[in-house]
Point group: C2
Chain length 198, copies 2
DNA sequence: CAACTAAGCTACAGTTGTGTATCTAATTCT
DNA sequence: AGAATTAGATACACAACTGTAGCTTAGTTG
């Protein structure tokens, strides 16, 4: 699609995708704080001038990369299986969190310099996702169908799964496995909505 | 103890405390990634040479500052009030998390460059604390006294409170208030240990 | 094929941070 | 009081990154 044909010079879309990828890789390696135009350019094997033609600083590049990253897959609650659907929702969250985009967002959220700029353009796209559309989608689905009282859909309950996954990742530095996701659902979410095991 | 007397030049302990404070202030403002000897020195109003005499790079200074920061207050479970003690434990956690040391640790944990070095010397002092000694202390206390079955002390239950506080802080950027702490205890922790309201 | 666009290359001056070194003078110790 | 420390004030060469600018040339478009 891009390599191997006679061309020696990338342009447009292709080049930009390479730069986006470079920005995400770079932030993963050095963190948002040490992100530089130079580093991104070097990694993308393109001159800095190409970057400056489009963006004014490294965080701009990163935000643009995030904006163009694949959207997060949404959980699609299915066949009357609340427990299974919750686990699946958390699985999707983990998958996203360890994607280049997810890791970049994590970095941005704790960076004093860029946390503010995040609010502007990206809240719609990235924040909405991060805010907890994973288990919340599933929980709302089953509450509407009367599997448990809708009054239990408080912020605590809606955040529970994502919060525990996040803490695991921070503590352990690696994604939780199937067993841990099941633990979270069985020992925290289900009890909190009054379904202590079934 | 230090200001106002005739002295014009800080030495030893006093100077070091100023440098530690500068490092913590600096990391709060620019993040771990942009921490520099220069920045710390400027903020502490001391020449860089003074820093290099003791530390070899900015992260060393920061780790040393953390090591010498006040230890976290531990929750002391008291008069047969599980709910109140849990809320108090979370209150202590929030207090620590928003202290200079807490903010610095948060920054370090998500910085690719310094996350590794953290493991070495500081795991004992700072990690142990962060790992969740807040609600865990309280929960173990009451489990031992038979207020609820000890089998429910799983990692999920022990992390629940801290996880939800952390998520609140990341999402909202501000400390949770009393109402939120109560929500966490009432809607997540107590149900998870089988005490759904009383 | 000609004209245009935009990537690639190189250079440059300016800024910030790095380590090191040297000298001075304030504070402490004996 | 005199000696030993050690903070404070420079200064320096080096490196990385910044923006900007000029030029060349590959690729696209009419």
């Amino acid at each position: 699609m891009s390599d191997g044909d006679g061309r020696t010079r990338r342009r447009g879309e292709e080049l930009i995708r390479a730069i986006h990828a470079a920005a995400l890789a770079e932030v993963r390696e050095v963190g948002v704080g040490r992100l530089t135009m130079d580093g991104i350019a070097r990694r993308a094997a393109t001159p800095r001038s190409t970057l400056y033609r489009r963006w004014s600083d490294p965080v701009e590049v990163l935000l643009d990369a995030l904006y163009h990253s694949h959207p997060v897959e949404e959980p699609t609650p299915g066949a009357d299986d609340l427990r299974g659907d919750l686990i699946q929702a958390l699985r999707l969250m983990v998958e996203w969190a360890f994607s280049p985009a997810g890791l970049a967002v994590a970095g941005i959220l704790t960076d004093p310099g860029s946390a503010a700029r995040m609010s502007e353009a990206l809240q719609e796209k990235v924040f909405a996702v991060r805010g907890g559309t994973f288990t919340a989608t599933v929980l709302r689905h089953y509450a509407e169908r009367g599997h448990f009282p809708a009054e239990r859909l408080t912020w605590v309950v809606l955040d529970l799964g994502e919060a525990l996954v996040t803490k695991w990742v921070i503590d352990k530095g690696c994604p939780p496995g199937e067993a841990e996701l099941a633990d979270i659902v069985d020992q925290a979410i289900l009890p909190a909505i009054g379904l202590s095991g079934g």
